[in-house]
Subunit: 144 residues, 2 copies
Amino acid sequence: MATARYDRLKLENQICFPLYASSKEVIHRYKDYLTEIGLTYTQYIAMMVLWERAPLSVKGLGEFLYLDSGTLTPLLKKLEKSGLILRERDPQDERSVTISLTEAGRGLREKAIQIPEKMESCIPLTNEEAQTLYKLLYKILKTV
Amino acid sequence: MATARYDRLKLENQICFPLYASSKEVIHRYKDYLTEIGLTYTQYIAMMVLWERAPLSVKGLGEFLYLDSGTLTPLLKKLEKSGLILRERDPQDERSVTISLTEAGRGLREKAIQIPEKMESCIPLTNEEAQTLYKLLYKILKTV
DNA sequence: CTCGTTTATATTGTGCACTATTTATTATAA
DNA sequence: TTATAATAAATAGTGCACAATATAAACGAG
């Protein structure tokens, strides 16, 4: 029938759109909490990796975050300016830049610790639903 | 125990990160198909709404896409420059701008029709999994 | 009617996100 | 060993995304 020809081109019939929109929506719900500790969302996820794994190269950080130097270099310069991290050329390999945390950077972790907790109440899913969502998203993410 | 204190601050223990990363990943998988028809991802979802519902105001379009005039105005100016749409003040209400499709804009739908099909093979989920994902994402999205 | 308020876009400014290119350094193959 | 290739960051340029503000038009209470 004529009306069905374009059905799959409808916004509500594609998985990409709710993925795109809900990602933005969740980041938006973080905003007030992140403003309190002076970070943007991307800076926050970068700090999450650094709290666990610093010192780390820009490349190494990018592999965890799925981001390249084009995004990370300016972002890391801002974190450096804020006094949270240090950026230093690796003496062993001068191509590489090593990111390490300052005392202030490590200290910020204490303030950030309440954020995941607060966020859970902003996402209306049961533990089981969140688990299911998590697995489906990683199934998409891990497939090359 | 001491190591558990920061566990919830790990990237892999938060739902926001796979959401953010897989959204970008899926958009990336669209890229080649969209380049072929000369659209960016955001332009594509805007055209999807317009194919179904034009003529439509900027505000109306924004409500479907969860985007405001700050994002839409420059994007729509580009689509106008490409000859796909028209932007005209509504004579009934001069505050409002009505977006309508040109012949070229309507014609592009024929080229776009193969994209959802091609994309399905890029997302490694069964129909049932896609359905589940879809419902969970809209559950997040619809909650204010 | 008219002044204050609301509404619809547009504009400005900041911060990603990504592509393509450049630069510097290291690794490697002939 | 040396020319070539590969690698890691940085840079340049484009396009969102969103907050804040400005502008213009429409609405509404008195």
